[in-house]
Each structure stands twice: as C-alpha cells, then as structure tokens.
C-alpha cells in the first residue's frame, strides 16, 4: 500500500513540477516573438504558454501532493528516520526536515498565490506575482529533489 501511495505521490508531483515550471518560466523569461517565417525554438515554445490557465491546477496538485506526502510521513518516521539517526546521517535528516518546512510554507502561500493570479489584474502587482510564483516553484523543486534523495537513501518499499 505504501509503495502504491509513494508512486502516486511521485506522479502527481511530476505533474505539479511541469505545471509550475511552465508558469514560472513564462513569467520570469518572457519569450521573444519568433522572426517572421521562422518557427520558434523549443525553449521559446516551452515558455510561450497562457500562464494564468495553470493556476487552479497548481493549487489542486500542490494540495494533493501534500496530502499524499503527509500520509507517507509516518512511514518515514518509523523506518527511514531511525535508520538515519542510527547511522549519524544528520545532514540528510536535516535536509528532509527542511522539506517539511518548505512544504508547509508553500501550502500557506497558496491563497496569496491564487489571489495574485485570479483576483489582481495581470498588469498590476507584477513583481510580487513573479516573486511569489518563484518562491512556490522553489518549494516544489526543493521538495521534489529532496524527496528523491531521501527515498534513494532508504526506500519506503516493503
């Protein structure tokens, strides 16, 4: 059961990672229009998305990933954390605790993030929208990489 939950956690996290990366890059690195008669490059196309469309899905995916993560967390505390403590792996214990804090801060930012995308005109509060979206993207990327590192130290599988 825990392995199934871990795979679902990973799959939803991948979807979230893709969505937030598209949105953040489109905001921070606005693509230049392609020269006449030439097709836009791959990275320009990657950034040339309607960023606003991603907002609701990012909020939903973030909450789902966090719920899956919180269901997996007791398993981590009972198996992986004692292993790390026994092996004096304090660096990695701290790295995972950082993930707990970053996910919590990301969860807390979701209402503000949604407000900035859905209730504020796109031409207003541009900088703060960029910064909050960037912080949320940082939360997602950190959590994703952090989870993988810890999972590869000692898996959750039976």
């Amino acid at each position: 059961m825990i392995t199934v939950l871990l795979i679902m956690h990973l799959l939803v996290a991948v979807a979230l990672l893709g969505a937030i990366t598209h949105q953040t890059l489109s905001l921070w690195w606005v693509p230049a229009p392609a020269p006449a008669g030439k097709a836009a490059a791959f990275f320009s196309n990657y950034r040339a998305v309607r960023a606003n469309v991603y907002t609701n899905m990012i909020v939903i995916l973030f909450v789902i990933v966090a719920v899956f993560g919180s269901l997996l967390y007791p398993g981590y505390r009972l198996t992986v954390l004692p292993f790390m403590r026994a092996n004096h792996a304090t660096l990695w214990g701290g790295v995972f605790e950082m993930k707990e804090h970053i996910v919590a801060i990301g969860l807390g930012l979701l209402p503000l993030y949604w407000y900035l995308w859905k209730k504020v005109l796109f031409s207003e509060h541009v900088q703060i929208r960029k910064i909050i979206t960037g912080i949320l993207a940082f939360c997602v990327w950190w959590s994703f990489l952090d989870g993988h590192l810890i999972n590869n130290i000692k898996g959750f599988g039976p």
């Binding site: 660096l91 950082m98 919590a104 801060i105 703060i128 909050i132």
Partner: protein, 108 residues
C-alpha cells in the same frame, strides 16, 4: 462571504509567519504517535511523536484569527497597499526555517 478572497493575502502571510514560530516555540496543537497510530493533545509515553501536523494546525488557527480580525477592520486598513511587500515574510521565514534545521540537526 462574497469578498472572502480579499482575506487570502492576510491569511497566507499569517500562516507563513506563525508556522515556523509554532515549531521554534514547540506549539504543536497536537501530536501524532505513528507507532500506535494515535493523535494526542497530551504527552504520550509512546515516544517518537510527529509534531508537523500539530504545527500546521497551530499556524492554521493563528492565520484564521488574524484573518478574522482583518475582516472586521474598516476598509482604510486595506492590506492591498502592502501587497508589494508580501515577499518579505515568506523569504524571511524560509531563512528562519533553515536556521531551525541548522540548530536542530546540523549544529549538534
């Protein structure tokens, strides 16, 4: 109820502000003991308690209280004017979280 979304920035800032403080001051509303699958408001001899859920609950309660106070303030106290400075709290609290982890794990 119609204008509840105007409370969202205040709610977020309060939650992000109080969450690391709940950890630092050990203010978990409750604890979860995974070895016996039990939530508890009181200290339990089972040990190995998870406080993370309790810190989230504490931050949620503080954020709701702050949002409720903001909701009854007159419109001249609008937080919308301060919106451009809303990055200070999350970045500050992310740094504070690094310090919490440093003090709890890496400095020992």
């Amino acid at each position: 109820m119609k204008n509840v979304s105007r409370l969202f920035p205040v709610f977020s800032m309060a939650f992000v502000f109080f969450y690391p403080l709940a950890d630092w001051f050990n203010l978990a509303l409750f604890k979860y003991y995974p070895s016996i699958s039990t939530f508890s408001f009181a200290k339990n001899p089972a040990g190995n308690a998870i406080q993370w859920y309790g810190w989230l609950a504490t931050a949620l309660i503080f954020a709701v209280i702050v949002s409720a106070i903001y909701a009854v303030l007159p419109p001249r106290f609008s937080a919308r004017r301060a919106l451009d400075y809303a990055w200070i709290i999350p970045i500050g609290m992310l740094l504070f979280s690094v310090y919490i982890v440093y003090a709890g794990w890496w400095a020992t």
